[in-house]
Amino acid sequence: MLKIEKLQVHFGHVHALRGVNLEAARNEVLVLIGPNGAGKSTVLNTVAGLNTPTEGSVHLDETAIGGMTPRNVVKAGLTLVPQGRRLFGSMTVRENLEMGAYTKNDKAKIDDQIARWSEFFPEIGARLGIRASYLSGGQQQIVAIIRGLMSEPRTLMMDEPSIGLAPVVVKRIGVEIRRLNREAGIGIVLVEQNVEFALTVSDRVAILAQGQVVHTGPPRDMRDPALLAHHFFGSTPETEAG
């Protein structure tokens, strides 16, 4: 269980998160949606330890992980697959996956995991020795997700994994995400702009607008054009933060 309470983040004068409350259970896929600049990435980055919150708390099960270094967050069992994949472009695919297991020391087990994922994604397995920057966007996204899984997280956060990908690849990633949750028991928190994708993959959705969670509910809520319009283009002006 990931529990975020009253989380506030400032970037200089920008008040990016204004008291975010959010819970995500291990047995669900939670999708966080919201307009550009709402603070979705900031939520994930802060939980992962990249930003220091000015207020509020974050718990992963019993452990208080708010304000921890990224390294300790990973060790506590939570890993973020960042927006834009962020692979190590000059390193090989295999080295990228090894970096994902940086907090682990069991070399044999790491090799074993890489072999298992290679079987599962043969197109990745065939390219382990290639520089990551030479892969297609879809392949890079799959490597980014596997790299995140190499740390054996209890909860995996993903920031817009579908962005820039062909529909067939998006569909495949959606299937994999649900499988990870149902079969491997990994809690999933996903940030998405692609509402269609969010609908098919999620158990529950939360809408973030202007640094606050303004709505949580079942996926079908996203079928409600009035609700979406209200929170995406809605009544409150976007200029407030600037």
């Binding site: 990249l50 973020l80 960042p82 090894e98 970096m99 790299r147 740390s151």
Partner: protein
């Protein structure tokens, strides 16, 4: 032809030092984005540590080990005491390194005076291979430099630590998300860079005489080499270092001696105009 080979050989031994220095510069820059100009002074300190150790023990081998070890400690002190506070503003780090040049040079003059010092050559004599004169010490120096460079390269490519260094150079935030202690890894590049400069200092000492001002020439050449190799590119720095040494030696051999630096830096400028980011692929690492 013999003469050409002779110049080329001398050039390789010169270039090996440039390569050592440039690899340190490029590592530090690649991870911290700090242009560390005091590296010439680190070479100078390494040379004096080697000289003092030789006077004390009579051993150049101990001198080499001491130069690397003491400079590693100095590298750590400068990072902990100064550069870590400038990581968010690499330009400040650069200015600070300029100040450090003055301080370290001042310390050098204070302790050892401005008079040149030299050590007895560790290995006298030379081999004569059909007219090609090969000073034994030059062979040792090339061997030591090459060995150190190869070891650094192997560590970078093959070990867990080396992979973390490359990951931080590529993308520090992503590396942090993998659990890499980014600040610690950056600190180690200051240590390794200074130790490499220390080894360079030993080579400078065994090649001739040293003074507190010996760093300047190595600073300029080290940076030129790092730029040509592509800042952040370790292999590029190593190769460009040797190339620079050979070019310099040939220019000295065939051109008029007074124009030596002009020739060499003329070539550097032309290369950088043609390829502003150097001949190698630089580090594309994001900023901290």
């Amino acid at each position: 032809m013999i003469l050409f080979l002779q110049h080329a050989l001398n050039g390789i031994s010169l270039g090996a030092v440039y390569a050592l220095i440039a690899v340190g510069i490029t590592l530090v820059y690649g991870l911290s984005r700090i242009i560390h100009f005091a590296v010439g002074e680190l070479v100078m300190l390494g040379a004096y540590v080697a000289w003092e150790t030789w006077r004390l023990t009579g051993s150049h081998t101990v001198g080499l080990a001491a130069a690397a070890a003491v400079l590693a400690v100095i590298g750590m002190i400068t990072e902990r005491g100064i550069f870590r506070f400038t990581l968010r503003e690499p330009l400040t780090g650069f200015i600070v390194s300029l100040g450090l040049i003055m301080i370290l040079q001042g310390i050098g003059i204070e302790i050892w005076s401005a008079d040149p010092r030299r050590a007895d050559p560790p290995l006298a004599g030379s081999w004569d291979v059909s007219g090609l004169i090969f000073r034994k010490q030059v062979a040792i120096n090339i061997g030591v430099s090459l060995l150190v460079l190869l070891a650094a390269y192997a560590v970078l490519m093959k070990t867990r630590y080396g992979k973390a260094v490359r990951a931080v150079a590529d993308d520090p935030s992503a590396a942090a998300l993998m659990g890499v202690p980014v600040r610690f890894i950056i600190m180690t590049t200051f240590i390794v860079g200074a130790a490499l400069a220390g080894v360079g200092g030993w080579v400078v000492l065994t090649n001739g005489s040293i003074s507190p001002f010996v760093g300047e020439a190595y600073l300029l050449r080290g940076f030129a080499v790092a730029l040509i190799g592509g800042l952040g590119n370790v292999q590029g720095a190593a190769v460009a270092g040797v190339g620079m040494g050979v070019a310099e030696s040939l220019a000295a051999g065939y051109g008029s001696p007074g124009w030596n630096d002009a020739y060499v830096f003329g070539i550097v400028i032309l290369i950088l105009l043609w390829r502003p980011t150097g001949l190698g692929r630089g580090s594309s690492g994001a900023h901290l």
